[in-house]
Symmetry: C2
Subunit: 306 residues, 2 copies
């Protein structure tokens, strides 16, 4: 039991039509681990600079996240600046200050290496591989990535995709990686690389999970108020992996439930800036929204007349 | 029982990345009635010119579609020319020749006026209203429209939306009509006009059905080969209304099943140009794909621990 996640811990400056957050807590590993912490034990592998406030570390620890793998090195913390328009579907990156990320060399604490679940959140694929190589015998490995690595480090990324069980990426990235416009064909191409499953995130349109011979479609939860989509994908992945680590059920049925839990977590996260909604989220709310997902998608089967 | 549909019967010239169809059979009422004819009796109200071949009329009649309301007047048939790019999501209109549509004055045959189901397919909202006014006491009225009427005849369209039970339109049109970016808020605004339900078509992302206090989400069927999206929305509406007219079940449960039947019909239609897939479709294929939809969306509920 328990998940190790490697990714970024960052400061974000985000502008949406509904407000602005300056130097707020962000990063793929932050969102993932906070979301997963509602379901299971999480151990974090990331780097921050000297400017990273103790208050944020204490928040992660308050969620029982193991921060032994959170390195603090000289320099400034990774800082991302982005903006969303009214459609809220895609962030426009205004500035990226890699800072301490440039020198990051993940080195897993001994206790992390035996974990059964590993999530390689969005970060340089060479670092993802470095972490994967340090793990003893994980039961399930999943990874995310982003357009930047597809265009700049495709070979490294391909090696990662070939070694993981589940790839969790955006719809646009599936098309970008394969050069194939049809999503079903593109999905089959990525699965053919060697991973068993592909989970395609489609923002407000929900998620598709592909295997070589099945597809599962989950909608996104229809929300009247979306304030900040930042971290939705990582929060989704945290709920997905967190639920799997909690139950240990890797059957198709268990994975489908995990997809819905991931969608539930993402739907909460976008209701407020940064991790503010996560900070005041209760587990009974998660269960209640799962129930809402059931009524959102449920329809009656038909009997076929021979 | 039985549906009356008013809309266009047209020649389409369509180009997609996978081929080109020149002067092929098209039009909102054509796609709708062909799709609905798999489920119930359909009576068509539309206009064509002297150039419209008998062969197409015979095709409609071969589907048991009543063509008494299909006027043939001097002049040329409505002709639409459009193109789809690789994403296949939105047609680019290259040319529109209204021709006989300009003088079209729908006049319903006496036998049509008692029909229980009426679909006002995409056509001038003033014509939609003219048809609606000729009906005696329809049990269920639904309508479609398009961006062109929202920008050019919004007041007329608003009057139609206020008089129908179900509005079936594209996601982009919901936002265009309301000026509201959030789809849930926009949907509530349209329902507040007076209709009971709003069915939002999202192309490859499926369908959302809203009432004042519920939402149902259905995915689109994931297809490896989409050749021509023309008519997908009308084919969807035909399956939706056709199934409702067939069962007469207007409960939430019945309407959800109808949404899935509509989605099934649209998924077949896009597999070939024009109505070519409809022409070789068998009812057992429709039932089998409905079953696939069930397995596509199905996930297990959870028990909440008090």
């Amino acid at each position: 039991m328990g998940i190790v996640v490697v990714g970024t811990v960052a400061f974000d400056t985000v502008e949406t039509p509904f407000g602005r957050g300056e130097n707020v807590l962000g990063g793929s590993a932050t969102y993932f681990s906070t979301s997963a912490s509602f379901f299971t034990d999480v151990s974090l592998v990331a780097v921050v600079g000297e400017d990273f406030p103790e208050e944020h570390v204490r928040f992660l620890q308050s969620r029982d996240i193991d921060t032994e793998g959170l390195q603090r090195i000289p320099g400034k913390t990774f800082h991302w600046t982005g903006r969303y328009g009214f459609d809220l579907n895609e962030a426009q990156t205004l500035d990226t200050q890699l800072n301490v990320l440039i020198e990051f060399q993940p080195n897993l604490p001994e206790s992390y290496r035996e974990a059964e679940y590993l999530f390689l959140a969005n970060i340089d694929p060479d670092l993802q591989m470095l972490v994967l190589d340090q793990m003893k015998e994980p039961r399930l490995v999943a990874c995310d990535t982003m357009n930047f690595w597809i265009s700049s480090k495709k070979d490294s990324l391909k090696k990662v995709l070939q070694k993981v069980d589940i790839v969790v990426i955006n719809e646009g990235e599936v098309r970008q990686f394969t050069g194939e416009a049809n999503l079903v064909k593109a999905a089959r191409q990525i699965i053919a690389l060697g991973c068993k499953r592909l989970v395609v995130k489609r923002g407000e349109y929900g998620v598709l999970m592909f295997t070589a011979d099945s597809v599962f479609a989950a909608p996104a939860y229809p929300l009247e108020d979306v304030f900040d989509p930042t971290g939705a994908g990582d929060t989704f992945a945290g709920g997905f992996m967190g639920y799997l680590a909690n139950t240990g059920d890797l059957s198709e049925e268990g994975l489908r439930q995990a997809i819905v839990f991931g969608s539930v977590m993402a739907s909460f996260n976008v209701e407020d800036f940064s991790l503010d909604r996560m900070k005041r989220l209760a587990y009974r709310e998660i269960e209640a929204r799962y129930k809402h997902f059931t009524s959102l998608t449920n329809f009656k089967d038909i009997e076929i007349h021979p």
